[in-house]
Amino acid sequence: MDRKTIILGVIGADVHAVGNQILNYAFMDAGFRVVNLGVMVSQEEFIEAAIESAADAIVVSSLYGHGELDCQGFRDKCDEAGLKGILLYVGGNIVVGKQPFAQVEERFRQMGFDRVFGPGTSPEEGIHALKEDLGVT
């Protein structure tokens, strides 16, 4: 089986480390190669790591509420860096406050994210989606 590579990290000034550590564990356990950048990761760091490791997907977490500010322009930056079409996920508590998820999802899709996950999504759901989108069986 050719193992798919995933860049994992928590974007912006966000220090929520627990979910990141669990995702790291779960993705590895599911057979992915994971490059975990940990917390407080800038868009640039994500992109650099993706290029360096020829990644198949970038999985962005944002818990602290600034996700909407932190993610602006991410897709464009990927395109500019030559990562056109790379799979881009975002998940966590990605906006400030309790907002209707459909609207939030729409906004992040507009920003170029392929999939958007709400609060408390289980790692399994993420793994399922990754497998589907990356054609892993």
Binding site: V15, I22, Y25, M40, V96, K98, P119
Partner: protein, 483 residues
Amino acid sequence: MQLANKKWALDEFMAQRQAVLSAWPTGEEVDLQEGMAYQRGIPNGQRFVTRLKEAKASQVTLVQPRAGVPLVADHLALLKHLETEGEADLLPTTIDSYTRLNRYEEAQRGIEESKATGKAMLNGFPAVNHGVKGCRMVTSALSTPVQVRHGTPDARLLCEITLAGGFTSFEGGGISYNIPYAKNATLQETIHNWQYCDRLTGLYEENGISINREPFGPLTGTLVPPCISNSVAVIEALLAAEQGVKNITVGYGQCGNLVQDVAALKSLESTVEAYLARFGYDGVTVTTVLHQWMGGFPQDEAKAFAVICWGSAVAALAKATKVIVKSPHEALGVPTREANAAGLRATKQTIMMLADQKMADGAALEEEIAVIDAETRQILERTLELGDGDIALGTVRAFEAGVIDVPFAPSRYNLGKIMPARDNEGAVRLLGVGMLPLTEAQKKFHQEKIAQRGRHENRGVSFQMVIDDIYAISKGRLVGRPR
């Protein structure tokens, strides 16, 4: 700069001040004399210290929310709502995450976008950007004392602005606002920067203005063993007291087992007092705060209320001086003011129903206190040793050596070798003790406790237990039993 737990000379402090104040334009608004004069004008009943002392004397637990939104008028309206509809005894001003990292330009962008979109785009109140004037607009309009709550590794400018801005309590510390809140900040740096904040607070104190300081007890909020958080609290109390702080609230994040939680809070108070006395810091008033469950919450609001109320009950039974309150929106996002007030009212009702009751003494409680006392002293004594008697220096070395080690911390200056898990009664124990300086007997105690759970669950002791425990409360129970 050689780090030491030694009171800064005034000119050393003043020498730094200019640089601090010039980091952002609003720094210019700060004038120490004028700030003190302003603080002197705040009536006693509106000061944190007064309320805490009264509460300690009468053994009542005060109720305090977290809350902060980007714009001054909205923030004031929010706090007023929590004061009237939430029956809050103490108020907060929670600072946004950009400000916490001194990214004032991004905070400014957040302010502008919040104005433009009519939505809160920051997760807190950017006090530095709003400056002394903005702060005073908030603090002066409330009859309840207001505290700054944040998570800022370098809080020097924030402290200057908010104390001049009329806040009468300031949360944080060089360890507790570094290890859980930063990735790359060294402890040398953050302890030094927090000595500045403590020195500033001490300066107010010397001028007759009592400001409360509160180390952040819960750290990462996730399965932190009491001996770790209590050790950090003792150290930060010592660091603050050395700089002249006279009013300290030490905190603890609820773990979930009643006996352990009450024991931890009792041990915390007595250990802090003992170490303050040992190092000759007289006249320091120590109060305590219990944080309702700081880990992952259930999404369902009814279940969230249960978590909130159980935390409230523990605070009341332990006779904590205050309790920091969660909201039924916790798992989803920064709460609406209504949800926030609902969490407060549920807490108030629980506290008041238990106001006249306390946890009965008994063998189980005594034993647990003894365990925490002993482990905390082990850690603290080794830390002092490592610092050749200096607690500041010792702390830096203790973290390097894993003598103090916080689970799930983002900081690269934390060893991250210990692994906590719950025992069969839900108390947080150590599945892996890492480099903690525990005796063989202490290590065995933890091992045995967790092995007991393993036997009960008919499974080996493993990381899966830890994962199960992390999810447990959000999935409806305390101990993460196998599914």
